[in-house]
C-alpha cells in the first residue's frame, strides 16, 4: 500500500545552510494495516506525513501509494492522488469554519471521486453526527469536530489515512473514544492507517508501534 524509500527533506535554517528533517531509508505499510509512529515534537513526524500526502515535495527518494509514485509526479498529479487515495486527519482538525458539517465532508470527496452527499450523510451518521449536518464547526464540541474530521478524511474512500496527533486536542476520555472510532471506521472502509503521536496512551492502543527515530535518521 505505502512504500517509502530513501526519502529526504531539508529546510533552510536560520543560521544559513540547510537542516535535514527527514531521511527515511525504507518504510512500508500494508493494505488495511494500522500502525503508529512514536516521536517527540520536532522529530519530523508531520513533515514525514506531509511528504507522503504530497503537500510537501521531497528533495529525494520515492513514495509509492497503491502503486502510484508520488515523488515522480508533478504537483497537479500529486493533488489528484491525494484527493483520490488519501485521507488526512490533522491535530487541529482543520475544518472549514464557514462551511456546514455536511459541506466539510462533501468537500473531502469533491476533488477526487466527486461529491456524493448520500455517502457524506452515511459517514456522518456513522460517527454519530447525523443530526448535526447543517451545523457549523463552531457550533460543535471539540470531540464532535474531531469526528467531522474523521468523516471528512474517509469521504473519498481512501486507501490510506494519515493521522497527525489526532487526539492531541482532546481530553483523555474523548481521546480514547475518538481513536477507537478512527481505527474502527478505517477498518470498516478497508483503509490503512498511519498515525503519529507522542502520547503513550494513544500509542498503547496500537498493536504495531514504531519509534520514528528508528526509521528517520537525518
Amino acid at each position: 500500500m505505502l512504500v517509502v524509500a530513501d526519502l529526504k527533506k531539508s529546510f533552510a535554517s536560520p543560521e544559513g545552510g540547510r537542516a535535514a528533517v527527514v531521511d527515511v531509508k525504507a518504510f512500508a505499510l500494508a493494505a488495511g494495516e494500522q500502525r503508529a509512529l512514536r516521536g517527540e515534537s520536532g522529530s519530523g513526524k508531520t513533515t514525514f506525513l506531509n511528504l507522503i500526502a504530497g503537500i510537501l515535495a521531497a528533495d529525494a527518494g520515492r513514495i509509492e501509494i497503491d502503486g502510484a509514485d508520488m515523488t515522480a509526479a508533478g504537483e497537479p498529479r500529486r493533488d489528484r492522488l491525494r484527493a483520490e487515495k488519501l485521507g488526512y486527519i490533522f491535530q487541529t482538525f482543520n475544518l472549514l469554519q464557514g462551511y456546514t458539517v455536511l459541506e466539510n465532508v462533501v468537500l473531502g470527496m469533491s476533488f477526487g471521486p466527486g461529491a456524493d452527499r448520500a455517502h457524506a450523510r452515511e459517514l456522518l451518521a456513522r460517527v454519530g453526527l447525523g443530526h448535526r449536518l447543517h451545523h457549523f464547526p463552531r457550533q460543535l464540541s471539540t470531540g464532535q469536530q474531531q469526528r467531522v474530521a474523521v468523516a471528512r478524511a474517509l469521504a473519498n474512500r481512501p486507501k490510506l489515512v494519515l493521522a497527525d496527533e489526532p487526539t492531541g486536542n482532546l481530553d483523555r476520555r474523548h481521546a480514547g473514544e475518538s481513536l477507537a472510532l478512527i481505527r474502527e471506521v478505517c477498518r470498516e472502509n478497508g483503509a490503512a492507517l498511519l498515525l503519529v503521536s507522542h502520547d503513550e496512551t494513544t500509542l498503547a492502543q496500537f498493536e504495531h508501534v514504531q519509534n520514528f527515530t528508528e526509521i528517520n535518521s537525518p
Binding site: 520536532g42 500526502a53 504537483e75 497537479p76 482543520n94 472549514l96 462551511y99 469533491s110
Partner: protein
Amino acid sequence: MILPLVIYRSLRQHALSTLVTAGSIALASGLLMTVWMVKTQSQQAFTRTSTSFDAVLGARGSKLQLVLNAIFHLEASPGNLDQSDYLYIKHHPLVKAAVPIAVGDNLRGYRLVGALTEMFTDIEIAPGKKFELEPGGRLFSADAKEAVAGSFAAARLGLKVGDTFHPFHGLNFNPNEQHTDLYTVVGILKPTNTPADRVVWIPLHGLQTMNGHDPKYATQVSAVLVQLRTPTAGFLLDMMYNRQGNRLTFAWPVAAILADLFDKIGWFDRVLALVAYLVALVAAASVLASIYNSMSARRRDIAILRALGARRRTIFGAVVSESACIGALGALVGFAVYFILFTAVAGVIRAQTGVVLDVGAGGRVLWLCPAGMIALCALGGVVPAVKAYRTPVAETLAPVS
C-alpha cells in the same frame, strides 16, 4: 459543482465587503447605462421631433434659438416677423408648406402657442402621423377664443374639455400679468411624445390680438415652420435670407443645427461618463483590495482546500470567479439603479422639453456595460488569485513538529 459552493461560502463569509463592493459596482453600472441611454434616446427623440420641418424662418438672431423656440417650445423668441414675410415664404415656389406660430403668453408656466388649424390638419408630426384629438374634443375655430391642450400640459394643469382659463402674459408665469381674455378648452391632443405635448394651442389670431398686446404687432408672427420641396431649396433660401439679407434668419437644416447643439452640450455627458468610468475603476479596485486584504484570513481555508486535493488552478479560478460574481451581483443591482436614475432623468426631461424617453427601450449598452463590469471585476480578482495560488499548504496548516 463544488466551485459554486466555494464561491458562495466565501461571499457569505465576507458579506459586508461583498455588499459594499457590489453596491459601488451597481452605482457605476447604473450611472453608465443611464448616461448612455439618456444621451442616445434624447438625441433620437430630438432628431425625430425635428423631422416634421426642414427649416424655421424667424427674426435675425441665433439659428439654434430659433429652432428651440419654434420646434421645441423652449427659449424665448428672437423677435417677430411681419405678415408679409410669412406670406412671401408661404407662396415661394420652393416651399411646400409654411406654418406660422406666435408665442408670448403662458398658462401657469405652460406655453401658449398661436397656430393655424392647418398645423393639425395638414402637418405630419412623424411620417404618416398627424395630431389626433382625444374623444369628445375638436379643433379650435380660427376666430374663437378656444384652445386645444397638449396631453402633458392638460394633465399637469388639470384641463378638460369645457374648462375656461385666462392666459398670462410672457413666457414665464407671473400671476400679476393675467390677460382678461377668457379661453375655453375644446380639445385635448393625444400624446405625441414630442414637445407639442406640453403646449396649450390657441388660434394664431387670438394670440396676436390678446387683450393688452400692442395692436401694432397684431399681424406679426414669432416664426414660420417650413417644409421644402427639394433639399436644394434650402441652399437657395439660406443664401437669400442669411447671406444676402440681414433682417431675417433662415434656420436650415434643422438636424444639423441640433447636432451642433448636442456637440455643444456633449461635454456634459462626457463628464458624466468619465465620472461613471472612474466609479467603475474604483469599484474594480475595491474588488481587488477587499479580496486581497481578506487573503490573510483565507489562507488557512485555501490551504485546507489544497490539502483536500484542490489544485492551484482550482483555487485561482475560485478567486477570479468570486470577483466576477461580485461584479455580476453589482451589475444586476445596477439595473435597479439604472431604472431609478433613468426614470428620474426622463421625468425631468419630459417636464422641461416634452420629449419622452422610454426606460424599457433596449440598447447595446444594457448588456455591454454589465458584461464589462463583470470582466473588470474578474480582472481585479487576478492579483488576489495569484496570491491564493501561491499559498504554501504545509506552512499554513501546521508548524513542523
